[in-house]
């Protein structure tokens, strides 16, 4: 369980992703977990906004979680810390930490692999073996902005990155009452695409959830269906496709 304000020990013993362990250990795992929870929540919120009428209760609860994390990160100054510590591997680590976060402590101790996440690790391994320019992307359409180095946290000016993040949050909260499909476009065009690798997050989430207990339909369950007229830019095509799959499955 992910207890707030409590530092958790890094797990070890997983041979298959041992190479990444060094990276994880370098950064306090609680922050990583919190960061991955934030990433996950932002992806969920963004998926909410692709629907004309999202499940309001769910959106509000996720938005409150994001607010809570943001508040805590502002208080303990993690903003700046991450800013200085991050390396080119950060977003990878973040993705991996999602994996850590979702294992129970017992499983970690026994070094067992949760079936639901094995594909995730496999993806990750595959990614690692590839050239870093190809890493993390399943489509070739959006190579340039998805440079791992240009991460929001690594911007020179912390204030600037903070402002950027704040802006994206505001947009997300603003669009809670989103009626206009174009705002999806706005959301994506104005938010720094390289903040995190959305496609990989999505595919990661998808493979996780497909292998997991809930099927795709329930995973992103919402009483409304996705808009058919979401006229997103080309780099959103894949995202659209994924959402379509989610909706249709």
């Amino acid at each position: 369980m992910f207890v707030r304000g409590l530092k958790r020990k890094c797990f070890d013993g997983e041979e298959d992703i041992e190479g990444t362990l060094a990276g994880i250990k370098a950064i306090p795992s609680y922050n990583l977990q919190r960061q991955s929870l934030l990433d996950m929540s932002l992806v969920k919120l963004q998926l909410c906004h692709m629907l004309v009428e999202p499940n309001l209760c769910r959106s509000v609860l996720i938005a409150n979680t994001v607010r809570q994390i943001q508040e805590e990160m502002t208080q303990d100054g993690t903003w700046q810390m991450i800013n200085t510590q991050s390396t080119g591997q950060t977003s990878l680590d973040r993705l991996v930490s999602t994996d850590i976060l979702c294992r129970s402590s017992r499983e970690q101790a026994e070094g067992k692999q949760v079936p639901g996440y094995s594909s995730f690790n496999k993806d990750f391994e595959d990614d690692q073996t590839q050239d870093s320019s190809e890493t993390m992307s399943t489509s070739s359409s959006v190579q340039t902005p998805r440079n791992l180095q240009s991460n929001v946290w690594e911007m020179e000016n912390p204030q600037e990155s903070r402002g950027n993040f704040q802006k994206s949050l505001d947009q997300i909260f603003e669009t809670l009452e989103n009626k206009n499909p174009n705002s999806v476009e706005d959301l994506f065009s104005e938010v720094d695409n390289s903040y995190y690798d959305l496609d990989t997050m999505l595919t990661g989430m998808m493979s996780n959830t497909k292998m997991g207990h809930c099927d795709g339909l329930e995973t992103f369950s919402s009483p409304t269906t996705a808009t058919s007229n979401s006229n997103c830019k080309s780099d959103l095509n894949e995202l659209d496709h994924i959402v379509e799959i989610l909706v249709e499955s």
């Binding site: 369980m1 409150n64 809670l176 809930c214 007229n229």
Partner: protein, 443 residues
């Protein structure tokens, strides 16, 4: 606690008896009427199926709890809102019966936006021998009518008709999550994420807004209404629950717009259990008054709580439904199960409460003896009429025989909707597309 067995061979999984099924067949609500003679289910495809209890007969006492299909009708159709460019799902969110006043039955059904009042009535005679119409209902040529005759009623096969009597539309911007018939039987309310409206059954073109929590600026929205219900006896009182885990009791005598509550029920947060998921798991998914009207029951993600109307600062009783999931909240957040809306019900005497869980498990808590039981609604693991075996989930350590480990629970098989007969130990449990009816075993 009573032993439970499936009601009857024929009553077994009444809906979707092994036939191919799709998402439209997923049962989305279950409700007994006030006598328990009828049981209505609504599904994702907008259909309402009503089951009627078989008459008791001395020859076949085992048939006492058997329910058979009485009427099926399409209550809601998928719609498209052209102004908002928005599809409106036909899924039935809730069904509520009106007390019976004549031979016909009335029920309210709602999807996300529109509430409908349906009349379900029987017909076993039909008029014959009209003067102006022929037997097929076509108008006769007046020049052919040479004699007058008296129409007569002739017996025919029993037919159950469902007719829409009222359509209450265009009053909700958000998704309707609850409807509740008032004890004056003249009004009812419908609640969506941000507002509650009060309707008169006779008036479809206007309703009174009695609660509105929509902030002027939607960016400031941090709380939504999750469920609402009228007091069973006092027509001026109702409660609504929120996504922050609180319950407000409102008195309509105080003001027309009940923005200020009369009572506010909230339990202080346990600091030792605090996590980023605290708010999400404390969000209330269902609220129900006891039959007596003295208590309210609320369901959140991990617990059921019973509150005394006279004590606002903490619940009287808290029952753990599936506490073993506390260590799994992150994956349940990731796969969205944490947002599942489990409902809860009282038995006829308010002494036992029931609610659902995952893996087709459902839980019962005896408030007097403090005993609880986990049962499973499943075709694979139960024989017809066999007594349901209590199930146990093993948490860590060594798994004993008959126990199921937390890691092998199936989170796609969830029991969200259940109903308890108003006076007898008969329960209806909706497991995805199957409806199970169980009754206590009489030896």
């Amino acid at each position: 606690m009573a032993q439970w067995a499936e009601a009857a061979g024929k009553g077994r999984s009444l809906q979707g008896c092994g036939a191919p099924w799709g998402p439209a067949d997923i049962i989305s609500t279950v409700e007994f009427n006030h006598t328990g003679e009828l049981l209505a289910t609504g599904d994702k495809g907008g259909r309402v199926v009503i089951f009627q209890r078989e008459q008791e007969s001395k020859q076949q006492p085992q048939r006492r709890g058997e329910y058979n299909v009485y009427s099926t009708f399409q209550s809601h159709e998928p719609e498209f809102d052209y102004l908002k460019s928005l599809e409106i799902e036909e899924k039935i969110n809730k069904i509520r019966w009106l007390p019976q006043h004549n031979a016909a039955y009335f029920l309210l059904s709602t999807n996300d936006k529109t509430v409908k009042l349906w009349k379900v009535s029987e017909r076993d005679k039909r008029p014959e021998g009209y003067n102006l119409k022929d037997e097929d209902g076509r108008l006769r040529d007046p020049s052919m009518i040479t004699t007058l005759r008296v129409p007569v009623l002739r017996p025919m096969d029993l037919m159950v008709e469902a007719t829409p009597r009222r359509v209450f539309a265009n009053a909700h911007t958000y998704h309707i999550n609850s409807i509740s018939v008032n004890s004056d039987y003249e009004t009812y309310m419908s609640a969506d994420d941000l507002r509650i409206n009060l309707w008169n059954f006779e008036i479809t073109n206007q309703s009174f807004n009695i609660v509105d929590i929509k902030p002027a600026n939607m960016e400031e929205l941090t709380e939504v209404i999750t469920a609402a219900e009228f007091h069973p006896h006092h027509c001026n009182a109702f409660v609504y629950s929120s996504s922050k885990g609180t319950i407000r009791l409102c008195d309509m005598r105080a003001a027309a717009l009940c923005d200020r509550h009369a009572k506010f029920f909230e339990e202080p947060e346990d600091p030792s259990n605090r996590s980023f998921f605290s708010e999400i798991i404390s969000s209330i998914s269902d609220v129900k008054f006891s039959h007596s009207g003295r208590y309210i029951m609320t369901r959140d993600y991990l617990t059921v709580k019973v509150w005394d109307l006279n004590m606002e600062n903490r619940p009287m009783e808290t029952y753990q439904v599936h506490d073993y999931l506390r260590s799994k909240l992150c994956s349940l957040y990731e796969n969205d199960c944490i947002f599942d809306k489990f409902e809860c019900v009282w038995n006829g005497s308010d002494s036992v409460i029931m609610t659902g869980s995952y893996n087709n498990f459902f839980r019962m808590f005896d408030r007097n003896t403090k005993r609880d039981v986990t049962l499973e609604a499943s075709r694979e693991n139960s024989k017809p009429r066999a007594v349901l075996k209590p199930r146990k989930v093993c948490v860590g350590g060594k798994r004993r025989k008959d126990e199921i480990s937390v890691d092998s629970l199936d989170f796609s098989k969830k029991i969200l909707h259940t109903a308890w007969h108003p006076s007898e130990n008969i329960i209806a449990v909706a497991a995805t597309n199957n409806l199970y009816i169980f009754q206590d075993k009489v030896n």
